[in-house]
Amino acid sequence: MSLSSPEDAHTSLLSDAWIDIALIGNPNTGKTSIFNALTGLRHKIGNYPGVTVERKSGMISGSDRLRIRLHDLPGLYSLNPKSLDERIAKEALIGVSPDQPPIRLVVVVADASNLSRNLYLVTQVIDLGLPVVAALNMMDDARASGLHIDTKTLSARLNVPVVPVIASRAEGIDHLRKTICAVLENPLPREEGTLRIDEALKNDLKPLTGWLSEYTSLAPSAQTAEALRIASSDLAGDAWMQGAHTAACKNDLQTQTREVRARLEERHIAWRMLEATLRYRQIDELYAATVHETPMEVQRLHVRLDRVLTHRIAGPAIVLLVFALIFQTIFSWAEAPMTVIETGVGDLNHHVARLIPEGTLQSLTTDGVITGVGAVVVFLPQILFLFFFLALLEDTGYLARIAFLMDRLMRSIGLSGRAVIPLLSSFACAIPGVMATRTISNWRDRLITIMIAPLMSCSARLPVYILMIGTFIPDTPVLGVFSLPGLTLLAMYLIGMSIAVLAALVLNRLFMRNMPSDTFIIELPPYRRPSLKWILLQMYERAKVFVSDAGRIIVAISIVLWFLASYPRPTSEDPPGERIAQSYAGQVGHAIEPIIAPLGFDWKLGIGLITSFAAREVMVSTLATIYNVEDGNEESVDLRTALRNEINPATGAPQYTPLVAVSLMVFFVLACQCMATVAIVGRETNSWRWPVVMIVYMTGLAYLGSLVVFQGGRMIGWG
C-alpha cells in the first residue's frame, strides 16, 4: 500500500507527515500549563509572519503512533476578530493562510469554575466544523466553589469529548492525550453545529452563506455560524473584506450583509450582536442542564486577600512596595551576577589571547566575538530576575490588580495600567522592559510603551553621568541638604521621564490615531497559588528568545563596531589613543565633527558616540583608550584630569567645560545609544520599521536637546 495515498485518510495519518492540531482557550484558563504538560519542553517559539503575535508549537510527547504537532494559539474570549490575536487565531483555525499548516483538530480549554463565559468560545470553535476535544481545566477550583459539572451530559450535548483536567497537578493529561489520538484516528462526523438556528433564520442568512460558499474555502458546516457572525457585527465582515481579492467580492459581501440585516429587521429581530444573544441564550440553558451550583460561602481567602490588595490606601502602598522590590532586584541584585559575567568575559579574553598569536584573528576573537557574546549574556541576570517577578505576579492573579489600580494614573498619558511594570523596569534596563510589554494586550498601547521605554534612564547611562558629573560639576551644597552633583543626576532622570510623557502624548496624537484604542475590559482572575515550575519555564523561555533572536543581531553589530575601531590596521608602536584616532571609527568621529560641534562635542566625543552604540557605558572606556589611561573607569582620577586638561587647539581654552558635560549627558538621556535595545525592539515588534523609527526619533530628540542646552547655555553666558 502506498503511504501517500490521498484516498486513504487513515493511512496518511500513520505516515511520516506531521499532524497539526491547535490549542485554544480564554486567557487565565491554564492553557499554557496544558500546552507544557502535553509537549514537555520540546517546543519552538517564534512570531506569526508579519505580526507581533507570538507563535508557539511543540510535539506532543507519548503518542507513539502519531506524530502530532500542537500549536498554541493566543488566549482569547471570542473568534469575532476585534484584535490581532483573535484574527490570527481564527485564520489559523480556518486555514486561510497558505504558509500555515491545515489544522486537523482543536483542543479547546475551558475553566470549569467559570464555565458559562468559557462556553462561548467553546461553542464557537465547535461550530467551525473541525474535530474538537474540550479540556475542562481547574476541576478542583470548580469543586471547591461548590460546582458539580455533569461532564457526560455536557459531552453529549456539545457532541464532542469533554475531558476533566487539573493541569497544575498534571491530572487528566494522559486521558486528554489519549482522547486526542482517538479522535484523530477516528474522527466523528458532525453535521450540525452547537448553535440551534431555526429554518426561518437559516433562510434569512442564505445571502451570506451563499457568499461564503462562493468566495471562501470555509467548510459548509461552518458557514451558517459565520454568516450569523457577519450579520451580527461589522467586525467579522471587515476581516473578510481585508482578505478579499476582488472589488466584486467585497461589494457582494456588503450587499449580502445589508440584505440579511433587512430581512431580519423585517421580522423585528435585532441583528446587532445577534450571535452573542443567541449563543448565550443556549449556553444558559446548557449550563442549567449540566452544572449544579451548591450555594456556598464565597471563597473566604480570595475576599480577604482582595480586601487588602485593592484597598483604597493599602492597595497602592503595596503596589509601590512591589515596584520597589522589583526595581531593587534588577537594579542592584542583578549587579553581582553581571559583574561575574563581565569578569568572566575578561578572563576568557585574556586566556584566548594567549592561545592565539597576536593579529587579526586574535583581535576578532577577543574584541569582536567574545566581547559580543558577553554583551548578550550580560543582560540575562536582569531578564531572568524581571521575568521571575512578572511570571509570579501573573500566575497569582496580582498583575491584573496592578493594572486595575494603576489604570487611572497611566491613562493620563494615554496608556493603560499594564504599562507600569515595563516602564519601571526600563529604569534598570530597557531590554527586559521592552520584553515585559508582552503583557499589554492592546497593540497600540504596547507599541507606545516600547517606543518610550528607552527614555527611562537605565543603569548603563550611570557610568557616563558619573564620569561627567564627577569631572565637571563642582560639589557645591544647595539649600543646605542637597548638592549640585546630586541634583544634576536627578535632573537627568527627570528629563528622561518628562520627555517620555511628551513622546507618549505625541505618538498617541500623531501616529496612532487609526489604531483601535484599548477598551480596557479585563478579567480579574481569582488569586491562585503560583507554580514554581511554570515560573521557571517562563524565565527559561524569555532568556531563550532573547539569546537566540536578539543575541544574533547584537553579536553581529559588535563585530561591525570592532571592525570600525580596529581598522585600518595600525602599527603596533602607536599608543592605543593614536590607533583609535586613525581607525574608521576615528575617521567617522572626525567626519561628524562639524555636525556635532554645535552641541559642544569634538571628534573625540564623536568616536565615543559611535562606539557607545555597543552599550552606553562603552563611552567611558573609549575615552580612556583615547587618552591612554590604563584601567580607566568612571571613577578614574587620571581620566578626569585628562578630560579637564584637554585644550581646544583653536582657542587655547579648555575643550570640555561643565556646559559640554551637561550637553553630553542630555544627549545620553535622549539618544538610543544601545544596539541591544534596537535588536529587542526588532524582535518584539517583528519588523525593522519600529527600531528604525526609534533610532531616528530618539537621535533627533537628543540632537535637539543638546543643541538647546549648549547654545542656550552659551547665550546666557555659561561655559
Binding site: N80, R117, M273, A276, R408, I521, I522, E523
Partner: protein, 75 residues
C-alpha cells in the same frame, strides 16, 4: 434604569442595555454581559475609576466611561 457606573459597592442589578462603539459592545457581550444578565458592583479602584464587577461567577474590570453606557435596573 440607571447607568452601571452610578451603582454603589455591593449593589446588584440586571443589565437592560449595552452601548458604546461596535468593538466595545461586542467585547462586553462576548464576555457575557447581555440584556437580562445579573451583575454585581464589587468596588471602585482607589482613584474612582475603573470599577470591578462580578458577572457569571467571574470578576471583570471596566472603565467608568464604558460602564456609563450600560443601563441597569437595581435589584
Amino acid at each position: 434604569m440607571i447607568p452601571l457606573d452610578q451603582l454603589n459597592p455591593g449593589d446588584k442589578a440586571i443589565i437592560r442595555s449595552i452601548g458604546g462603539t461596535t468593538a466595545e459592545e461586542a467585547h462586553l457581550m462576548e464576555m457575557g454581559l447581555l440584556p437580562g444578565t445579573p451583575v454585581e458592583f464589587v468596588k471602585r479602584a482607589p482613584l474612582g475609576d475603573p470599577i470591578e464587577l462580578r458577572v457569571r461567577r467571574y470578576h471583570l474590570s471596566i472603565r467608568c466611561a464604558e460602564a456609563h453606557r450600560i443601563l441597569v435596573d437595581k435589584t
